[in-house]
């Protein structure tokens, strides 16, 4: 169906309102401010090129899917050996230290951060990522599934297991204090 509005108008209507969410999600995926900004720019360019074909329904889900593909492409260029499993790729890419921080500063950060942040940091990467998408970035299960390219059931099982782990971590921490 041809769209009567221009690409610029459709971009302003569907894409620009999602900028903050896109940047937050990109931070979670890349764990690096510079890479996150690059990833969002890449996503915006791809979205603009595809906006004429977008049907206007669920713009956030559409954009998150574009972002996932953009990230997979970025990894393919940088680390082709990781490309066997796109889901695994998203986790392994996010597993690298944020902003080049060294091990010592990561330990110091943990000592001075809140227990909930320590519990989150202690999760295996693919569980941490789902918690960040749903609990920190406030995505729905479907939006998180679109971002990671996995079924909604996988999001549910990872999220539920992650929260149980966080609870156990918090309970163990409070026992140590006592």
């Amino acid at each position: 169906m041809p769209n009567s509005t221009s690409a610029d108008e459709r971009f302003a209507e569907y894409v620009v309102p999602e900028l903050e969410v896109l940047y937050r999600v990109a931070r979670s995926i890349t764990r690096n401010a510079t890479d996150a900004e690059d990833l969002v720019q890449d996503t915006l360019v791809r979205a603009y090129k595809a906006i004429e074909r977008f049907d206007g329904r669920y713009p956030r889900a559409w954009l998150l899917t574009i972002m996932r593909n953009a990230q997979i492409n970025r990894v393919r260029r940088k680390r082709p050996e990781l490309m066997h499993d796109p889901d695994e790729t998203m986790s392994r890419v996010a597993d690298e230290s944020p902003d080049g921080a060294d091990a010592e500063s990561l330990v110091l950060d943990q000592e001075f951060s809140a227990p909930i942040e320590n519990a989150l940091a202690a999760l295996p990467e693919k569980f941490r990522l789902v918690v960040e998408l749903v609990d920190l970035n406030q995505l729905t299960y479907q939006e998180a599934a679109d971002t990671l390219g996995v079924p909604v059931g996988t999001i549910m099982s990872r999220l539920h297991r992650a929260r149980r782990n966080i609870r156990q971590h918090l309970e163990a921490s409070s026992e140590e204090v006592i």
Binding site: Y23, R24, Y48, D135, M156
Partner: protein, 83 residues
């Protein structure tokens, strides 16, 4: 028609989806009714509600400078794409 009270096990299986608002209205209401009546499940729900709230609060703020740059990029998107 009176609805059947959900069991603790059924509530436990759906508790996280309930807390995330990811269930249909019927199930949301059934679980809410169970949590009002069952102390053990109510406590369990409160624990995870608190964890969810603490996680949401721990979310880092977006860098306003980065957002400003991305907004500027968006406004010039047509010329950025044609480059």
């Amino acid at each position: 028609m009176a609805t059947r009270m959900m069991s603790c096990r059924e509530v436990g299986l759906r508790l996280q989806s309930y807390l995330d608002g990811e269930l249909d209205d019927g199930r949301m209401n059934a679980i809410r009714a169970h949590l009002d009546a069952c102390v053990d499940c109510g406590v369990e729900a409160s624990v995870f509600e608190r964890i969810k709230a603490d996680l949401a609060e721990s979310a880092p703020q977006n860098d306003p400078d980065a957002l400003a740059r991305l907004r500027a990029f968006s406004e010039e998107i047509a010329s950025n794409v044609s480059e």
